[in-house]
Symmetry: C2
Subunit: 225 residues, 2 copies
C-alpha cells in the first residue's frame, strides 16, 4: 500500500532478467530491488532485501525455484512468491503451490498482465495463468469427485456411524474409539458392524479407504493434531 512494490527477480537467464527488469521498470508502482541467478542467491538476497514479491523462475541451477520458495517461507515469510516458467509442468505447478507460492505464471504472459499479477500477489491474493488454472481445476475435478457409488451409501450412515468411521479412518482401534466417544467398546463394535454392512465392505481397512475415497476424511486435514 505504502510506496511501490519491491520486487526481486530470480532467473538464471541473463536475457530474461533484463527483459523482466525492463518491463517492470515501466511501471512506477514497481521497484525492482534486486536480481538473483539461482535459488541459493535468491534466498540470500531475499533475506537482505526484504522484497514484497519474488519473481521466481522454476528451473535453475544449484537450487530450483521450488526449493528456494520453500526456504523463503522460513527466511522471508513476508515475501510472496510468483513462479514463472516457460512450460507448465504439472509437478512444477503443484510442487510450487505446495511450497507456498502465491501464483504461477507462464512466461508467455503479456507484460501488462505480469504487472497486474505482481500487484495482485502483493495484495495477498493469488493467481494462476489461465491454462495453469485449467490443470489445477482438472485436478480438483478429477481427483475429488468421490466415487458416487460408495459416496451415496455414505449417506446411508447415521451421524453416529460417521463419527465412528472418522475415528477409524484416523487409525484408532475399537477400544480407542470407545474412549474417544465415551461409550463401551461393544457399542463401537456394533456401529462398526452396521458401517461395514451398509457400505458393503469387509473390514475396517476397507472402511478407511472408503473414508478417504469419498472425502469423508481428507489427507492433511487436521483431524486433531
Amino acid at each position: 500500500m505504502t510506496g511501490p512494490v519491491r520486487v526481486l527477480i530470480v532467473d538464471d537467464d541473463d536475457l530474461m532478467r533484463a527483459g523482466l527488469r525492463a518491463v517492470l521498470s515501466s511501471d512506477a508502482s514497481i521497484d525492482v530491488v534486486g536480481e538473483a541467478a539461482d535459488g541459493r542467491v535468491a534466498v540470500a538476497s531475499a533475506r537482505a532485501l526484504r522484497p514484497d514479491v519474488v519473481l521466481m523462475d522454476v528451473r535453475m541451477p544449484h537450487q530450483d525455484g521450488i526449493a528456494a520458495t520453500r526456504e523463503l517461507a522460513g527466511v522471508a515469510p513476508a515475501a510472496r512468491v510468483l513462479m514463472l516458467t516457460t512450460f507448465e509442468d504439472d509437478d512444477y505447478v503443484f510442487g510450487a503451490l505446495s511450497a507456498g507460492a502465491s501464483g504461477f505464471l507462464l512466461k508467455r504472459t503479456r507484460p501488462e498482465q505480469l504487472i497486474e499479477a505482481i500487484h495482485t500477489v502483493a495484495d495477498g491474493d493469488s493467481l494462476l495463468s489461465p491454462s495453469v488454472t485449467r490443470t489445477v481445476i482438472d485436478r480438483i475435478a478429477t481427483a475429488s469427485p468421490p466415487d458416487p457409488v460408495v459416496a451415496g451409501r455414505l449417506r446411508a450412515l447415521t451421524a453416529r456411524e460417521r463419527d465412528v468411521l472418522e475415528l477409524v479412518a484416523r487409525g484408532l482401534s475399537n477400544a480407542e474409539i470407545a474412549g474417544e466417544l465415551f461409550v463401551e467398546e461393544s457399542t463401537v463394535k456394533t456401529h462398526m458392524k452396521r458401517i461395514l454392512a451398509k457400505l458393503g465392505l469387509r473390514d475396517r481397512v476397507q472402511a478407511v479407504v472408503a473414508a478417504y475415497e469419498t472425502g469423508l476424511v481428507r489427507p492433511g486435514a487436521p483431524g486433531r493434531e
Copy 2:
C-alpha cells in the same frame, strides 16, 4: 474465433441480469443470446440456444447453479460455465469446479475483467477470481504436503515393502496381497511386520492412513478400477 461469443445469462435477480446484459452489450465481441432466472430454465435455454458461455449464478431457486452446471455437461457439453457469486463459499467453489465449471468469479469483479474472463473461458481456458484462487491454492497447499515426519520414514521402506503397502492401502488382505504379488501369505506377513516396525505404526489400519497422508496413494487415483 468466428463471430462473437454467444453468452447465456443465468441469475434469479432481475436487476443483476439487466446489469450483466448492459455490461456485456458494450462489447462488440459478445452476444447475449438469452437469459434465465433459475437452473431449470437455464438448462432448457442452453439446450435451445447453444451458447458458448453460460454466466451462472450459484444461488438460485428450484435448481442451483451447481446442479445446473452438472446437467449442462450432458445437455450442452460445448457450453463453458462461468460461475458468478456474491460471496465465496468453499463448498460452492469446489462444488462448482467438480461439476465442471470453467471459472468462478465474484460479482464484485470489474466489468472489463468479466468481459475478459468470458473470452478466456470461451477459448477453453479457465480462471478464478484472485481471492478464490487463494482458497483453491490453500486447499492444495494444506491438503497435499505429506507429513515430512512419516514421509521421511516412508523412504526407509524397500521397494517391495512399498508394493505391499500400496496394496494394503487399497483394502486388500494379506492373502489377497500374496495372490497379487505371487508370493506366499507368510511372506506378506513378514513384509507387513517390517513396514509397521519401520513406520512405527501399530496395525495395517494406521498403515493405510499413513499411505494416504504421505501421498503414497491418493484419493481418486486409479489404482485398479
